[in-house]
Amino acid sequence: MEALTPKLVGARVKRLEDRRLLTGQGSYVDDFRPPGLLHAAFLRSPHAHARIVRLDPAAARALPGVAAVATGAEIARLTRPVRALSKMKEYRVTSFPPLALGKVRFAGEAVAAVVAASRYVAEDGLDRILVDYEPLPAVSHMEAAMGAGAALLHEETGSNLLLAREFATGDVDSAIAGAAVVVRERFRFRRHTAVCLENRGCLAEYHEGTGLLTLRSATQCPGLVRDILADLLDLPEHRIRVIAADVGGGFGAKSSLYPEEITVAALALWLRRPVKWISDRREDLLATSQAWDEIVEAELALGADGTIVGLRAEVTADVGAYSIYPWTAAIEPVQTISFLPGPYRVPHYRAHARGVTTCKAPMGPYRGVGRPVAAFVMEGLMDRAARLLGLDPTELRLRNFIRPEDFPYKSPSGIVWDRAGFTETMLRARETLGYEAARAEQAQARAEGRWIGVGFASYVELTGIGSAIPVSPGMPVATGTEAATVRVDPSGTVTAIFGIASHGQGLETSLAQVVAEEMGLPLEHVRVVHGDTALSPYGTGTYASRSAVLAGGAGILAGRAVREKAFTIAAHLLEADPADLVVNGGRVAVRGTPDRGVTFREIANAAYSGARRLPRGMEPGLEATRFYDPYFGTASSATHAAIVEVDRETYEVTIRRYVVVEDCGRIINPLIVEGQVHGGVVQGAGAALLEEVVYDGAGQLLTGTLMDYLVPAATLVPTMEVHHVETPSPTALGGFRGMGEGGTIGAPAAIANAVADALSPLGIEVSELPITPERLFRAMPDSGGADRGSRA
C-alpha cells in the first residue's frame, strides 16, 4: 500500500492558521472575557532586596469595585511554594513563592494582587496598599555575590551559589601545557529578555458544578503547567484544563511556570469568579524570565597545524533571584558547557559552570539556551586562533569539524551527534557568500580606510530530545515523549490532536502536512488541534526545538495506524488484497483499476457502522493515539556568515550581508523553516548589537521600557540569504530535525566575528556583547577607554 497524493512534506504550503490572524479573529488570552470576569493587577516590589515589615491592604479593599486583595500569606494558604528540583549533585533547592513571603528578592517581584471589576480599578487599588519595607543590601553582581560578606538571598541554602557542574574528558591540563598555540579570553554575554509581542497573561475560571478549573494562559507548555498546578493547588489533574490557544510568541520565555499563573488560578478558586491578568510591558521587562547573562573564561589549545587539542572553560551565570520551574537555575550555564565544544573534534575538555543568585528577575530559557553564549565563545576562540596561526578562519574550522566517518560522535560533554552536514554547511556558506570576492572587496575597502569585516560561525545543537536525557540538566520532569491522536469522523475528515502548542511556528500547518501525507489525504482534510490539555493525549508543550521531531513523529505513527486500518476496511469493502491498494486524494483504490475504489468517507462510514460492514473481529471506529520517543534526539547545525561595516565616526555597526546555510534534516515546509531562520537571526542580531537588560548597583532595572531595551526594527538586518543542506536525520522518524532556535545561536557569534575581523588591523577583539557604539569607542586604542572602565 502506498500514497500517490502529491508530496506535502517538503512543499511550500501557505499557512493554515493565517487567515484568522490576518483578519483580527485570533484568540489570544486577552480576547476572552467570560461573564462575571474580574481583573487582577499585581503590586510589585520597588526594592531589590528587602524585608516586608508590614503590608496593609485595608484601604485597597475598601475601594469600590475591588473584589479582593491577596497577600503572600493568603496565597500561601491556598497553594504550595514552587520548588524546582534537580538530580544534579551540586544543586541547592530554593522556594519561589507565588507572592513574596516575608521578603522580596528582586525589584518587580509580585507582593500582592488586587482583583477588581476592571484593570483600571485594580491598578487604583494597588496605589492604596501600604507596605513598609526594610531594605537589605542588594546583591547585584554575580561575582561579588559569591564573596564573603555578600548578603544571602535564600537563607535556606547558606550560599548564593545555587549550582555547580563539571564536564571533563581526557587530560586537558597536559594538552594545554604541551600545545603549540593557546588562545584565552574572558567573554561577557550580557543579560537579555525575549520581548514576545504579546505580553504574558492568563485567565482562570472555576466551575463549581463540575469542579473543573480552566486556565487559559499565554504559555508554550499547557501540559507542564497543568501537571504542576495540580500539585500546587492540590487538585486532581483531571479537574484542571490548561488551554493555550493563539499565543503571541514565546521564544522560551513562556515555557516556564510563573507566579501569576498560580496566583490567578488560586484567586479563581477562592473567589469563585473568573479572574484575568494581562501583563503590561513594564511588568514583562521586570518579571519575565531573563537570559544568557554569563561570564566565560575559556582557553583553546591547538597544534601548529591548527588541530584542536584541548578546551578549558569556567562559566559563571547570573541566574537571578529564583530557580525557575521546571527548568531550574541550571538550564543556562549547564547548557553552555554542554555545547561549548561545538561541531569540532575536541579530545581533551574540562568545563565548569556555576549559577549564582542575585537580585534580578529569574533566568530562564530563551531561544538557544546556553548555545548562543557557547557559540560566541567557541567561535570567538577559533577566530583568535586563526589569526595567531595565520590561517584562514574557514580553513581552521574545516580542519576541525567532526567528519562523516566520525558519526555517531560522542562529544566530550557526553552528547551523541548523529550524522549531520557540518562541512557541507561551511562549504556552501563560503560559496554563497563568494568568499574570495568578499575578501578582495574587504581589502579594497580597507585601502580606502573603511572598516569592513567578514565573520563566520558554525554550531551544532541537540533538538527533538527524547527520554535519554532531560531537556534541562538534572530536571526530574519527563520531557522525552509526545503523542498524537488522529481521528477520522464519519464524513472522512481528520482531526489530528497534539499535546504540543504553537505560538508562531506554524505547527498547525507543518503537522497537518505530516499527517495528510502519511494518510494520503489532501491537506484540507486534516485539521490540527493543539494547546488544550482536555482535548489532547498527554504531552508537555513546545520548547527546545522539539515539536517538529516529537509531534511530527507521533503524527506519523498515529496517521500510519489509521491508514493501515482504513486500508484493511477498504480491502474488505472492495474484496481486494490490502497490498494491492493505493490512496490518492482521499480515495483508496485497487492499483491499476482506479474505478474500483472507496472514498475515506465510505471507509469511515463503514468503520462506525460496526461489525455488519467490517472484517470479522475488527474493532469499530477509525482513530489512533500513538506516542513517540526519539530517545537521544538529533543534531541540527548551520554555518552563518556576515559582512559588516563599522562606521569610523559613530562606531555604529551595519550588517551588509547575511548568509545562513542550515541543516535541519528533511524539511516539512521551506516557507516556515526560512521564516524561523529569519526571525532567529534578527533576534541574534539584536543580541549582538542592541539588546541588554541593565540593572544598577542597587538592583534597580534601568531598561524598563522599549525605549531602553532595544529590540531590532526592520532596518537592522538586510535581506538574508538562507540555504538548506538536507541531511535527513538518521535517528528521528521522518528525518526531521528541530530548527526553531538555530538562527539565534549562530548570529551573535557571526556578527561578533565580523566586527572583530573589521577591527583586526587595530588589534581590537570582541569579547563582550552587545557591541554597542559606546563599547567600541571605549575599546579604541586612543579613546582612553581602559581608564574609564566599563560595567563588569
Binding site: D18, L21, L22, Y120, C196, L197, G249, H678, A714
Partner: protein
C-alpha cells in the same frame, strides 16, 4: 476623577456609541467596549506599534490616545480591512509571503503599511524598512513582511 461621558464615532464604516471614563485608552475602548479584539496591546507606551489603527485615515497608536479623543473620528481597525470576505491585498500578500508568525503584531503592521502605501505607492525596499520600523515584530525578522509590502504595492496602485 471626571465621570463617564458619551462619545460617538465611526468604526469600520459603522456608527458606534460609547459611555467611557475620560481616562480610558482608545485601544481598551476598541477591544473591551466594542469587542473588536483584533487590535492588540503590546507595550502601552507607543513603541511597539501593535495597537496601530487608522484614525481619520492616518496611522495612530491607539494606546497613546484616549477614547474621548476619538469622538467624532473615523477609525479603521484590522477587522475593517477585508471586504465581504475578500482579503485586502496587503492581507493576501502577508499570507503569500509568510509575513506573519505569531500574528500579534500583524494588525498594527497591516494598518501601518496601509497608511504608508497611500502616501508612497511605489516605495523602495529601504523606504519600506524605514516606514515599518514603526512596528516591532519579534518573529519574522521582517523579511516576509518587507516582501509582502513590496508585492502588495503594485496591486494597490492598480486598484486606484
Amino acid at each position: 476623577m471626571a465621570g463617564p461621558r458619551t462619545i460617538h464615532l465611526t468604526v469600520n464604516g459603522a456608527p458606534r456609541e460609547g459611555w467611557v471614563e475620560p481616562r480610558k485608552l482608545l485601544v481598551d475602548f476598541i477591544r473591551e467596549d466594542l469587542g473588536l479584539t483584533g487590535t492588540h496591546v503590546g507595550c502601552e507606551h507607543g513603541i511597539c506599534g501593535a495597537c496601530t489603527v487608522l484614525v481619520n485615515g492616518e496611522a495612530a497608536r491607539s494606546c497613546l490616545m484616549l477614547a474621548v479623543q476619538a469622538a467624532g473620528a473615523e477609525v479603521l481597525t484590522v477587522e475593517g480591512l477585508a471586504r465581504d470576505g475578500t482579503l485586502h491585498p496587503l492581507q493576501e500578500a502577508f499570507w503569500e509571503h509568510h509575513g506573519l508568525q505569531c500574528g500579534f503584531c500583524t494588525p498594527g503592521m497591516l494598518l501601518t503599511a496601509c497608511d504608508f502605501l497611500k502616501d508612497n505607492p511605489s516605495p523602495t525596499e529601504a523606504e519600506i524598512r524605514e516606514a515599518l520600523s514603526a512596528v516591532l515584530c519579534r518573529c519574522t525578522g521582517y523579511q516576509g513582511i518587507i516582501k509582502a509590502v513590496q508585492a502588495a504595492a503594485p496591486k494597490l496602485r492598480d486598484a486606484r
